[in-house]
């Protein structure tokens, strides 16, 4: 019996994923009424160098640029992207996200963020925690800050895809972001995607053009054609509007609180 236990411990250490609890479980199994003791079929047990019969904990790497577009407006050359990716298995993944804009409504040269998160899958959603770095220009100079992030991403009833996150900056400023999109199939390859994104904050942070309360709303309509699933050029229109304190700050910087931008881009993933 001792040998069997040693055997079992050794296998667990190598983590072959084969249920070695079987060995002890078997030795303990008794069927009521029979009084007989089962013996573990130890010579059928898998050996240390055997592969797994199935590799169901493979890791994959996924990157999606859901928004990757060029938005001409007068002399401005505005680029916008919303990229995310993950690496991992079915339940545990490392997430990477980046959202950004060049030549923003509020006259910054760029406004970009990067997130690195750990995500755990709960039936339809990934709960994500991690860090975010936000960088933009303010009055010609670069400003950067870091946040802790906790977020939820997934598919809600009626097939809306949501992405929500709460940010707490290293200065203790709390803000949040919420995105909701849905894909409507016009044909098998022509897909219409409305997209709504909003930001809100508790504290006013002037350097980051963030006012108190609701900051802005971005409503976009994009029509893409999936030449391949992974490669879909699209055209769209985006309405941006800033509110309350944020609107004041935008005006202060000489920017537009209301924007209509036409966009052409490509949605790709691999």
């Amino acid at each position: 019996m001792a040998l069997v236990s040693l055997f079992k411990v050794g296998f667990q250490a190598k983590n072959y994923g084969v249920p070695f609890g079987a060995v002890t479980a078997f030795a303990q199994t008794t069927r009521s009424g029979s009084g007989r003791q089962e013996r573990a079929p130890s010579h059928w047990s898998p050996q240390a160098d055997w592969p797994n019969p199935v590799d169901d904990h493979e890791r994959f790497t996924f990157i999606l640029a859901d928004v990757l577009e060029y938005r001409p407006k007068g002399t401005d050359r505005d680029f916008r992207w919303d990229i995310e990716g993950w690496h991992g298995g079915d339940y545990h993944r490392i997430w990477f996200k980046s959202e950004g804009e060049r030549h923003t409504a509020f006259k910054a040269d760029y406004d970009v963020d990067f997130q690195l998160l750990y995500g755990r899958f709960i039936r339809y959603y990934d709960v994500q925690v991690g860090a975010r770095a936000e960088t933009q220009t303010f009055q010609g100079r670069n400003v950067t800050r870091g946040h802790a992030v906790i977020g939820l991403e997934g598919l809600v009833p009626y097939r809306y895809e949501i992405e929500s996150a709460l940010f707490i900056s290293h200065n203790g400023d709390v803000s949040a972001r919420f995105t909701i999109t849905k894909n409507y199939l016009l044909t098998q390859r022509l897909i219409f995607q409305p997209r709504f994104e909003t930001h809100a904050a508790i504290q006013k942070v002037e350097r980051f053009t963030t006012g108190r309360g609701l900051n802005n709303i971005e409503l976009g309509f994009r029509l893409r054609y999936e030449i391949r699933r992974e490669f879909a050029p699209y055209a769209g229109v985006s309405f941006d509007r800033s509110f309350f304190g944020t609107a004041d700050l935008v005006r202060q910087e000489g920017g537009d609180t209301r924007q209509v931008r036409f966009a052409a881009g490509v949605r790709l993933w691999f």
Binding site: G17, P41, P46, R123, V156, P157, L186, W269
Partner: protein, 621 residues
């Protein structure tokens, strides 16, 4: 060690043996066997299924160029062909099969449906360590059964890449099935994309291969046909559940060319016959992810064997064959013309096709393709009373309109012409007395256990559906084989009532492509499933998903409790329908560790796999 020399030897032995057994098959069949197959088959692109027989058989696994249509890919093959060679053996003897692995990765061969010692079963990690590249593994086991079987790799995606082949074991006793000629019909799915590529896509986008989803265009035409309110309610209901009613096949005809004996529909595999002959067709579904609906327009088929086990003959127009199942049918062509053997995939995204003809070079019309089926609320396990849907009648006629003709609903409303005087589908209502005899077939509400995050949904109700032909079948005047039609030819010896009952739930998450049993992938299952040697137990399968799953148990047969009393059929693979519960009786007669899994390859690889451990027989003092 083995090599060409032995291969030559087995070929010669085969001819001698064939000459001896000429009487059993008739001169014509013998001549066909001696002449190269291409002389009898279609002129275009003939695939030769070579035959091997004898006591010692050599099989080599290697990468081989494989042409489908005008494109050449690389297949993994047994002895150079897709499918591999037909291995023909005789019950009662012992066979030695030497498998040499010339691939660059570990491989294996599993003898599907064969009762073999556990270390000969060929599942890496369960039976043995696999066959390393360059090595030869010698399988040796007695042949305790007869019938049509097949064999395939049990390593990774190799089965998808071409490592599959048919096997026939001839009975010692005179074959109860009388026939003049036979053909093996291996149905399979071929993709130029590698299995890893396919799995990659499935994990990243649900419905990647599904180009039959419901679109705005379809919504508008449905609304015009059925009314705006009803259409809106229907689309909204599916959307609310985050389910796709067009989800029938994870990998579809978009990725696959469906093959019949290794030939594409255009290449048209042809099997010959002479007028007046009884022809036995041995259908094997070697598809990795494919379920086919098989029919031969103009010919009735008499099913005589299922999964290698003789059944009482039942005449049908069509049958559904799921991955890993086999069906032997007898046809008697009466006209001097070609007949199309048509195997349409379950989601109607493609078909495999061949011809049965009196002379080579003939072909018949390919039947009209059927419309894409749709899942019903019934298949989702929605309880009918709890529906409360206003303006949404659930009777068959309306659903017939809504979801295209041919969509069968739980309660059959249409008249079906009954030309055979046998039981008709319209008789199989909920009041069918036969249903009452099937244990556990009455609707059962799902318990509170939702099986964890890896399981997308639990149906409210699961019930027996053995008498249903399946989604997308029926309602078109054709008699389709159902599991309740299968009755073993002779009762099997162990007729004890099951001594204990266990239940297993088939679970999964379609969006994330996680597949499991009881919510746990194989790597998360802490223990194997224990059977005690010699016991007779009832195993109830409950399908909590909305897709079909062909469940396969190695090492032992499962007796399907389909109400046939003493004549329960034995199967090695059972196709479980969405929201179905069924029971099998198993005599745990084979000690050792045995694989149990869904035979849809990517489901198995995603985690729908378990080990069944049968304890040793007790040592007698």
């Amino acid at each position: 060690m083995s090599g060409k020399e032995d291969e030559m030897k087995t070929d010669l032995i085969s001819r001698r043996q064939l000459l001896k057994s000429a009487g059993a098959f008739g001169m014509l069949a013998l001549l066909e066997r001696l002449a190269p197959a291409y002389a009898w088959a279609s002129a275009a692109d003939a695939a030769l299924i070579p035959q091997l027989t004898g006591n010692v058989i050599d099989l080599t696994l290697a990468e081989t160029p494989f042409r489908v249509g005008d494109r050449t890919g690389t297949a993994m093959t047994i002895n150079g062909t897709v499918p591999g060679p037909l291995v023909r053996l005789r019950e009662g003897g012992e066979v030695t099969l030497r498998v040499t692995n010339r691939l660059k990765e570990v491989s294996s061969i599993h003898w599907h449906g064969l009762l073999v010692p556990p270390d000969m079963d060929g599942v890496p990690g369960v039976s043995f360590g696999g066959i390393r590249p360059g090595k030869t593994f010698t399988y040796r086991f007695p042949l305790k059964q007869s019938g049509t079987y097949w064999f395939h790799s049990h390593s990774g995606g190799q089965e998808q890449s071409g490592v599959y082949a048919p096997m026939i074991i001839d009975p010692i006793a005179p074959d109860p099935v009388k026939y003049d000629r036979e053909h093996v019909v291996v149905l399979s799915d071929w993709s130029f994309a590698s299995p890893m590529e396919i799995m990659d896509k499935l994990k990243k986008q649900a419905g990647y291969f599904n180009f039959q989803r419901r679109t705005m265009q379809e919504f508008l035409s449905d609304a015009k046909k059925n009314g705006w309110r009803r259409t809106f309610d229907d689309y909204r209901m599916w959307s609310r559940m985050r389910m796709d009613p067009t989800d029938f096949a994870d990998v579809t005809g978009r990725a696959y060319t469906y093959l019949m004996n290794g030939l594409s529909p255009a290449a048209n595999w042809t099997g010959l016959f002479r007028l007046g002959e009884r022809v036995r067709l041995r259908f094997i579904d070697s598809g990795a992810m494919s379920i086919f609906d098989v029919r031969i327009p103009g010919l009735k088929m008499t099913v005589v064997q299922a999964d290698g086990q003789n059944v009482q003959p039942v005449e049908v127009d069509e049958f559904r064959i799921s991955a890993a199942e086999t069906y032997d049918v007898i046809v008697e062509p009466k006209e001097d013309r070609a007949y199309t053997i048509f195997a349409e995939s379950i989601d109607r995204s493609g078909y495999a096709r061949g011809t049965l003809a009196p002379r080579p070079g003939m072909s018949a019309e390919i039947p009209a393709r059927r419309p894409r089926p749709l899942r019903t609320m019934d298949e989702m396990g929605m309880s009918m009373e709890g529906m409360g849907m206003k303006g949404m009648e659930m009777d068959g006629m309306d659903h017939g309109n809504m979801q295209m003709p041919g969509m069968r609903h739980g309660q059959e409303m249409e008249e079906i012409p009954n030309t055979h005087g046998e039981d008709d589908r319209s008789d199989r209502t909920a009041n069918d007395p036969q249903r009452a005899q099937i244990p556990g077939s009455a609707p059962v509400k799902h318990g509170p256990d939702t099986h964890g995050p890896g399981n997308q949904m639990t149906p409210e109700i699961t019930r027996g559906r053995l008498d249903e032909p399946g989604a997308g079948l029926g309602g078109d005047g054709r008699r389709v084989l159902t599991y309740t039609d299968l009755k073993s030819l002779h009762p099997y010896p162990d007729r004890r009532e099951p001594q204990r009952e266990i239940e297993i739930h088939i679970t999964g998450h379609m969006e994330r492509f996680i597949w499991s049993f009881d919510g746990k992938k194989y790597s998360e299952a802490k223990e194997p499933i224990h059977f005690r040697y010699g016991e007779r137990l009832r195993w109830t399968f409950v399908n909590d998903t909305m897709m079909e799953h062909p469940l396969h148990l190695h090492g032992m047969f499962m007796e399907l409790e389909n109400g046939a009393g003493k004549h329960l059929p034995r199967k090695h693979t059972i196709n479980l329908k969405p929201a179905e519960r069924l029971s099998v009786a198993i005599t745990a007669g084979a000690p050792g560790r045995w694989a149990f899994h869904c035979h849809l390859l990517f489901h198995m690889e995603a985690g729908m796999f378990r080990v069944v451990e049968v304890s040793e027989p007790e040592a007698r003092p």
